[in-house]
């Protein structure tokens, strides 16, 4: 390391040739170090200087957006004014200073104000938003417990074997390093409308079930469009496939930290494998289970690409979620983005939607922490 080399150089410096050490020459060693010493800033100054790059990005693309989206949500009757910047208050001021330039007689300008209209609009008659919340909740309630149980089982089983353990571990991790869109496309093909879809072939040959229209609208050779139920199955199967890799990894690392002595003691007492799992593994794994439960509920409530990916090919814009109007399984986040992209000059309503999502996530997290206080052994 460069740091230590400098030291050595000082030590190896040739001594003055004379037999008497001159005071001046001895001093050289001292100033040599302090000369190299740059004017050092106090720590707090250095700290703020090195924080500047991160702070610029944090303020501009994280702190400011969070506050600003709050403001958007409460700014009603508001249309984006080009050239006014993205700051809600700035937009508010430039919108308020609009004047009638129309030469066609009377003109009316709707001036924005602060209020709850955007939230009211989310829940008016005919709004898709409440439906998207129910869709998401339905998928979350089915998918999260299922993925957690499956990955817990796989992790326990993986932990109990020796042969081929590494191979299985790698296979179960593979979905994590893939592209959600690309593999959604493959699932779309596997549940293809045509007889050549893998799932239909398997069902036909093993159970003699006629080809099922899993995802598509009403097209030959089927009579009738895919039902909401079959579409839901495809979404859940894909989210299980996509979701267990990470959970298995976390559970495996949790299992690795459990002391083997507990198991030995239980075996000597003659406990059955299930009792051991129920009474030792599960309680000692509870911190990991809590962590996974919270993160999966939050993550699942924000599902979007996974759902959209299985409908791949029907629509290129990424906002088709089944059915004639594309909303059969539309999740909340899908609705927010669709609203934002299709009506980008009125960000108020999508902002209100994102605040509702935030509230839901907060409630779930708080509820889970409350439950976990009694249940988790640290």
């Amino acid at each position: 390391m460069a740091l230590f080399k400098k030291e050595r150089k000082v030590a190896e410096a040739p001594m003055p040739s004379g037999d008497v050490l001159v005071a001046d020459e001895v001093k050289v060693v001292g100033p040599l170090i302090s000369k190299r010493r740059r004017v050092s800033l106090p720590q707090w100054a250095t700290a703020w200087i090195v924080l500047i790059p991160a702070l610029i990005f944090l303020v501009m693309f994280m702190f400011y957006p969070i506050i600003n989206t709050f403001l958007y949500a409460f700014l009603q009757d508001f249309t984006y004014v080009p050239g006014g910047g993205s700051f809600a208050l700035g937009q508010f001021i430039s919108a308020m200073s609009q004047t009638c330039k129309s030469s066609y007689g009377s003109c009316t300008i709707v001036y924005p104000s602060f209020g709850f209209n955007n939230f009211a609009e989310l829940f008016v008659e005919g709004s898709v938003f409440p439906k998207t919340i129910l869709n998401t909740a339905e998928l979350v309630i089915i998918e999260v417990p299922l993925t957690i149980i499956i990955s817990l089982l796989i992790a326990t089983f993986l932990n109990s074997i020796k042969a081929l353990k590494g191979l299985y571990q790698t296979i179960f991790f593979l979905p994590y390093v893939t592209n959600t869109i690309a593999l959604g496309l493959i699932f779309n093909m596997a549940f293809s409308r045509t007889p050549g879809g893998l799932v239909n072939i398997v069902l036909k040959n093993l159970f003699n079930v006629d080809p099922i229209n899993w995802l598509s609208k009403d097209i030959s050779p089927y009579n009738g469009a895919a039902s909401r139920f079959t579409q839901g199955i495809v979404i859940v199967v894909y989210s299980i496939w996509n979701g267990i890799a990470f959970k298995i990894l976390v559970f495996m690392s949790g299992l690795a930290t459990i002391d083997k002595q507990y198991y030995d003691a239980a075996k000597i007492d003659g406990s059955s494998s299930f009792t051991i799992w129920r009474r030792i593994t599960l309680p000692l794994l509870s911190p990991q289970i809590l962590y996974i439960t919270i993160t999966s509920f939050i993550g699942a409530f924000k599902m979007y690409t996974g759902v959209m990916a299985v409908y791949q090919g029907v629509s290129a814009d990424g906002y088709y979620f089944g059915g004639d109007d594309g909303t059969t399984w539309m999740p909340v986040v899908g609705w927010i983005y669709k609203r934002l992209a299709s009506d980008s000059l009125k960000p108020g309503i999508s902002s209100a939607g994102s605040l509702v999502l935030l509230a839901i996530i907060m409630v779930i997290t708080a509820a889970q922490f409350a439950v976990s206080k009694k249940r988790v052994h640290y």
Partner: protein
């Protein structure tokens, strides 16, 4: 550790024990194998499907005619179409399409750009949080923690409006700078930095090394494994990002009529590939998804250790 030595009352007890153990093993391996097959099936479809020529694949899909899956129908034509600038449908209509090479280039630029910015900001900020003392440190750190709770959708809305008002749509600036900082990576690096013993810092101080010098010459080399993990995860994140590019870089064609260069990344390119002319292009789409997935697998094989370590701490994807 020595194996347990087991004693049985009689031979019968031993036989029952052995039978039980074997039965358990069979159940465990059966369960794991079934799920492993479920995990692998999409990849098998992807690899095989991408090589079967479009005509044969369509015949197979329509009639489940397995003879069309034979090696005689295999070829690289799907991949050729993915990277071509033109596509001719079965009915002979030819139309322009963007080459995947173009999406690759866009994605590489964005991945390298945003990874560089993210790593630089994360290293500097993590250094301040891990090593330096300053007023407001705890407050700022709590603020950062709090942002991790907020759903990203809230930020996306204003960032999208900022992008519009800065006229950044369809530019690299929008794709790179908006993700210029990652709170999670700052935390991750800070943890690693904190494990470096204080004595090194004091020794460096005695030697007259400045704070920045200490960061660059001591901390960064020691934390290199963590930084490598961040580099890889961040690159993979750019490769897989879909939502943000879909909002701000939505032009389909390489040269659209207004002359704007398409900024689509691989995921978005894959989504828009043959979106309107989808009939008969299924195997080509499969080849497209193979092209998107293969580099990820290559990275996974090469850097498996770094990826699995980083992932078990984070849980972030894309």
């Amino acid at each position: 550790m020595a194996e347990h030595v087991m004693y049985f009352a009689d031979e019968k007890a031993q036989r029952i024990f052995l039978a039980k153990t074997i039965a358990k093993k069979v159940v465990v391996y059966l369960f794991l194998t079934i799920f492993a097959l479920f995990m692998l099936a999409p990849f098998v479809i992807m690899v095989i499907g991408s090589f079967i020529e479009a005509d044969a694949f369509n015949t197979f899909e329509a009639n489940a005619d397995f003879s069309m899956l034979g090696f005689s129908h295999w070829g690289l034509s799907n991949y050729a179409v993915v990277f071509a600038e033109k596509y001719k449908t079965g009915t002979g209509i030819e139309f322009d399409k963007p080459s995947f090479a173009h999406f690759f280039l866009n994605t590489f630029i964005v991945a390298i750009g945003s990874t560089t910015v993210t790593v630089v900001t994360a290293v500097l900020a993590a250094f301040a949080f891990a090593r330096l003392q300053f007023k407001g440190k705890d407050l700022l750190f709590t603020l950062l923690l709090a942002t991790m709770m907020i759903p990203g959708e809230m930020m996306v809305i204003t960032n999208f409006m900022t992008t519009l008002s800065l006229k950044w749509t369809n530019t690299f600036a929008a794709l790179i700078l908006v993700h210029g900082v990652s709170v999670f990576y700052i935390f991750y690096l800070r943890q690693t930095f904190q494990q470096i013993p204080n004595e090194l810092y004091l020794a460096a101080k005695v030697d007259g090394v400045s704070d920045i010098g200490y960061l660059l010459k001591v901390m960064v080399p020691i934390a290199m494994p963590t930084i490598t993990t961040i580099l890889i995860l961040s690159m993979m994140g750019s490769w897989n990002s879909y939502v943000w590019p879909n909002l701000v870089a939505n032009e389909t064609w390489r040269y659209d009529p207004s002359g704007t260069y398409s900024m689509k990344l691989v995921s978005n390119g894959l989504m828009s590939l043959f979106a309107t002319q989808q009939d008969g292009a299924d195997s080509i789409k499969i080849a497209g998804s193979m092209v998107v997935t293969a580099p990820l697998f290559l990275v996974f094989i090469l850097f498996r250790k770094y990826i699995m370590r980083g992932v078990s701490r984070s849980g972030i994807k894309g």
